[in-house]
Symmetry: C2
Subunit: 450 residues, 2 copies
């Protein structure tokens, strides 16, 4: 008799796990249970959908549930909310929201890919209908619907992280006045000041007001329908609010079934994506990922990690023996005409982890000095003093940042020293890089320092 | 008494060697002898100068000879043609073309950075005044002068290598009819067919006629002043010709002084950039470079290599102990709206070197499927079967190729396997890459094959 794989969650990790398991072991009966009505969509594209750069919400969907059935023979059940897991019996309990009834489904293997949900702090008035989070396609539809039906002129973004930056650009692109409120003294909390100061200048240049070290005290509905935001740095009125203050893993149901969690209550997985409970795997934004430099299981939810972990969970469920080697904490974000990226450890993170590191920051150009269209690019490298090993890089610039950071990613995975980085035979042609490619100058500088 | 360093050649390698030696050991007396009247210019920018993308030839100059004197205290003597080296006496003999007289200069250290010269095969009629080579700033001025003073309508490029491709785009950009004649059955001889076929379609789409497997028999001056080119594939008339059929190292004077040469008669250097003759160093396009995969000393002249080798020669002359770790054969070229790049070995090169390799080629997109402006990108990976080690990559696409290739460069230097490549935590955001970044798909595919 064929065995059952049940996958809980139908976005990046879930669909990767389902597809990989089915492809490698066609006899598996694969069923995906998804709480919303959408599966397999690119949630990272939501800011661009709201900005009208992506025209239809269906454009974000990679593969429809009908295609999953017809092409891959995977059953996708939407509007199915899993409410309980019984590992002893090998069963999941779900509420079928279509027909408002309980269902119980048996599994031989279970893959938990329930993702993460936006944090909603208990600030007075946070329940206001014009305060939005942005995570799921439903969230995107809600925001877009509100913008279409209301006369939005001013929007506030709470939180100046990656999503906050993307939403600031999106809202500005729609012609709104935009104000960003950040609790910390720095935007893009994970990056060092040499990089964020460049981003701040661009935000300012594009008319985005940024309030740092500022906490929201309350949201109050005014008679005009506007929201008054009281902060530690004064109050102001806006037509809508986007919350971008982080996410927490959706691990409650797993926990209540005895699955052990780790940092921030993310589901703790080993390198095979197994949880502590036999036959129960987890992957994606609800799970931990091993950091290759810190050798710790951390909660760093990222779309690409979800894809990779999902694929490995699916492969191992099918009987393979694959391992997830871990993450480097790589991230890239577009902020107006800038690309901003990081990988590995920032200088602050290196210090927090008691590593003896030196850092060097150099601003150069993206093309040969005589080739038109060249843009400034700032590269910061962090190097461990004794071993001369690369610990991380951060970059901000007008073009090519997202790929230049990946050179360092490759280096981090292979224990590359700063000396080795400085000697790489990197590609060069005048339209693409200066003759001494921009990443080599800081490498040479860092070499002198260590 | 302070010692003398004489550097022969004042472009990439020569100026890097001079600057590095002087910076590290300020007591050195550094003199650069340059045959032409220009030093420290970006010869890779010449096609863009001819195309009028770079407006003035002086824009190509990074640092003037006056600046070298005033800022770096380096003596630069231009129009000084070195005609002999006497290692026993420690002297170089040169002709001062300014004053038409012989000079003899003593040296304690000598750095030979004489570069390479375009090949001019003995084809009948090749001496025609409208047949140009393109290597030095003088060559660029000659071509630009001819175009300005003549009514050029049709141009032929002989050779479909990197320079040939750049010149085809430049000539087309000036509004000329362009025909490219290539002796081999393939354009961009160093690359495999999956990549070159994409480039050929773009050339065709831009109205460039390409004749492959076609040899030039003769150039004949017609009464109209045009040049009739007789080839194995028919004859045609053009107003001017650009030769782009490779270069040979300028090593004659070194050889006659007892310096040993290697592949293609390039000056053989060790990893410290020393020749076999004590106190005589060499760097750049006149010298060999160790290939990191083939472990052979090869002639692969490249501007970035010249810079790196020059810097290392200068450092070691100053008393340091630095080594040049070798090249990976990386190259990138812009051909109209395409970026074309390679690093490491092609499938053919792997086979020629008796390596048991498998290759995989996948065409994907440069951005998330829903993000506008996405362009196709074709990635070919070559992997050694037994060790699963990456041997090389070739890429062609609309954007980001020049940086994606560098991920593989980093991998080649660190012995990365295809499995390791497929697991890298590469950067992702919808405007910059698909969620499973384009280089990972061929990596996953190659993994299945090996």
């Amino acid at each position: 008799m064929s065995e059952n794989l049940i996958v809980v969650g139908g976005v990046a990790a879930g669909m990767s796990a389902a597809s990989q398991a089915k492809r490698r072991r066609p006899s598996l009966n694969v069923t995906v249970l998804e709480k919303s009505e959408f599966v397999s969509y690119g949630s990272c594209g939501l800011p661009y959908y709201i900005m009208d750069v992506v025209k239809k919400h269906t454009d974000l969907i990679a593969i429809t549930k009908e295609k999953f059935k017809s092409v891959r023979d995977i059953n996708v059940l939407t509007k199915m909310e899993v409410v309980g897991i019984d590992p002893k019996e090998g069963k999941v309990r779900a509420i079928d929201q279509n027909e408002k009834k309980d269902v119980v489904l048996p599994y031989d293997y279970l893959a938990i890919a329930t993702g993460a949900s936006p944090t909603r702090p208990p600030i007075p008035g946070i329940g206001n209908h014009a305060i939005f989070q942005i995570r799921t396609l439903d969230d995107g539809l809600a925001i877009k619907g509100y913008i279409k039906s209301s006369h939005v002129k001013r929007a506030a973004i709470i939180g100046a992280g990656y999503i906050g930056m993307e939403m600031a650009e999106a809202m500005k692109g729609l012609g709104f006045e935009v104000i960003v409120v950040e609790r910390l003294p720095n935007i893009l909390g994970g990056m060092d000041g040499e990089i964020t100061s460049v981003v701040e200048r661009t935000l300012e240049g594009n008319g985005v007001r940024v309030l740092k070290s500022t906490e929201v005290r309350s949201f109050d509905r005014k008679d005009s329908g506007m929201i008054r935001i009281e902060t530690t740095g004064g109050s102001f009125d806006v037509d809508m609010v986007i919350l971008g203050i982080g996410v927490r893993p959706n691990s409650e149901i797993a926990k209540s079934a005895g699955v052990v969690t780790g940092e921030h209550d993310a589901i703790l997985v080993n390198e095979k994506m197994e949880t502590n409970v036999p036959h129960v795997y987890s992957a994606g934004d609800c799970a931990t990922a091993k950091h290759i430099l810190l050798k710790k299981d951390l909660f760093i939810p990222m779309g690409t990690t979800a894809n990779k972990q999902g694929r490995i969970a699916g492969a191992n469920i099918s009987g393979a023996n694959e391992v997830f080697k871990g993450v480097a904490g790589t991230a890239v974000v577009k902020v107006f005409d800038l690309e901003v990226a990081k990988t590995g450890l920032t200088e602050k993170e290196a210090r927090d982890n008691k590593l003896n590191a030196v850092a060097t920051t150099i601003t150069s150009k993206t093309r040969a000095h005589y080739y038109p269209g060249s843009r400034p690019i700032t590269v910061k490298l962090v190097v461990e003093k004794k071993s001369r090993r690369l610990l991380g890089a951060q970059m901000v610039g007008g073009e090519g940042v997202s790929k230049r950071i990946d050179i360092v990613v490759a280096g981090l995975y292979k224990g590359m020293t700063i000396d080795e980085l400085s000697r790489l035979d990197l590609s060069y042609a005048p339209p693409f890089a200066p003759v001494s490619p921009d990443i080599l100058a800081p490498a040479n500088d860092a070499m002198k320092k260590v």
